[in-house]
């Protein structure tokens, strides 16, 4: 997690497990690749909204990559982007109808951002970079993994914003009625700040881990100079 190990540069094609887990953490779409930011910040005002948006995106991602991969030999280079976009838009429309049929409250909460999944760079990016060159099964596995990683990222942001901004988690109130919610957290600036907070946390952890690794391989006094070992 702290950085690429020599094994990561192996020449063998990735196993199915590696395909699946690539998007979960090592190349998490939210925190590492920073893709699909529009819905990330707009919709993550609560954990439930975040998960729903994440799952909707996962569905679109998986279905689109499956179809793109299945048709990959049929699609000529010139029209590939337009074709991918049409395919993605199709599945977004499907999800839009599905959410309306499942729950109107959810539909109101997510609003136009469901349809904006079409413009999510993550989906088009994966279709272009991966699904167009891979067989259907690995492509879909990778897409599902990316989607779940995206959902995880969204929920991490949404969870924090809900806890701080509404005093609840998944709709369950956590603190007593005397709690004064930090309202800005569920407003647009809060989205920016919470995402920055998570990235900052990861950067700090990464630095500490790197410093610890570096310190361990050298026998110099530098090894203990890191004053605050949180780990």
């Amino acid at each position: 997690m702290s950085g690429p190990s020599p094994a990561a540069f192996s020449m063998a094609p990735p196993s199915q497990w590696e395909e699946f887990t690539e998007g979960m953490w090592r190349r998490n779409p939210v925190f590492v690749m920073v893709l699909g930011m529009c819905p990330t910040l707009a919709v993550t005002v609560s954990a439930i909204n975040s998960i729903s948006m994440g799952l909707a995106t996962t569905f679109v991602l998986a279905a689109s990559c499956l179809l793109v991969s299945a048709l990959r030999r049929l699609i000529p280079k010139e029209v590939r982007i337009a074709t991918y976009i049409v395919i993605i838009a199709t599945f977004v429309t499907v999800v839009d109808y599905a959410v309306q049929a499942i729950s109107l409250d959810l539909y109101e909460a997510l609003g136009a951002y469901i349809q904006l999944i079409v413009a999510n760079c993550l989906v088009l990016g994966r279709a272009e970079a991966h699904a167009a060159r891979a067989a259907p099964i690995p492509a879909t596995l990778n897409a599902i993994g990316m989607g779940l990683g995206f959902t995880l990222g969204l929920t991490m942001i949404g969870g924090v914003r809900e806890i701080l901004g509404a005093g609840a988690f998944f709709g369950i109130p956590l603190f007593g009625p005397g709690f004064q919610p930090w309202v800005v957290m569920v407003l647009p600036p809060g989205g920016f700040f919470v995402m920055a907070g998570w990235l900052l946390l990861f950067a700090i952890v990464r630095r500490r881990l790197a410093a610890r690794d570096a310190g361990a391989t050298r026998a110099a006094p530098v090894a203990n100079s890191g004053a605050c070992h949180g780990a």
Binding site: A89, T93, A112, L116, A119, P189, G191, F192, F193, A203
Partner: protein
């Protein structure tokens, strides 16, 4: 609601309902391209242009689709029209402003996946704006988008000279700056009446 006046729509979309800072549309270029004003501003203008084209096309498309009772094709039609419009703009810029074309690089075709462009079309449809309102909405949106991008770019240019801690540099700093900018724009709430 269809009762908003044009002036209200204009003020709202530029300030209190700014596409980038309040509605989170157009995040990719906002975070990715704002390292310099010289790139951010022209990209904002190019995007505004596409936004207006998209808005007008969406209005006409919606009218045709409603007549033919084919509303479920709305999303696909919008995005295809946007992709084509971006293609045209790309060809235009490449021919007449080649230096700008090279400077913008991949971000010009990426306008297709800019949530702001599709967002304008979707929001104006959802709010049932008439033609004049839609056009104002699009123009205001474009101005607001360019404003946000340029503001962030100018702040980032200065912050590059400042001595920020290492952990914070990069995306974290940009997000914090964006958050502060968004907070500032919240002060405009209620301006449109």
């Amino acid at each position: 609601m269809a009762h908003e006046s044009l002036g209200q729509i204009l003020l709202n979309t530029i300030l209190s309902g700014n596409f980038v800072l309040a509605m989170f549309l157009g995040m990719c270029p906002f975070l990715g391209v704002t390292h310099s004003v010289a790139v951010a501003f022209p990209l904002g203008v190019a995007t505004s242009f596409v936004i207006v084209i998209a808005s007008v096309s969406a209005y006409l498309l919606n009218w045709v689709l409603a007549l033919a009772h084919l509303e479920f094709l709305r999303l696909i039609c919008y995005i295809v029209v946007i992709a084509s419009a971006v293609q045209l703009v790309e060809m235009f810029v490449k021919k007449h402003y080649p230096a700008l074309f090279r400077a913008l690089g991949i971000y010009l075709p990426l306008i297709t996946t800019n949530c702001a462009v599709l967002g304008v079309a979707l929001f104006q449809t959802a709010r049932e704006y008439d033609f004049a309102q839609s056009l104002t909405f699009a123009i205001g949106g474009g101005i607001g988008f360019t404003l946000a991008l340029t503001l962030l770019a100018s702040v980032r240019e200065r912050v590059q000279l400042a001595d920020a801690p290492e952990v914070v540099q990069g995306t974290v700093l940009v997000l914090i700056l964006a958050g502060v900018l968004s907070l500032a724009f919240m002060g405009f709430a209620g301006l449109g009446g």
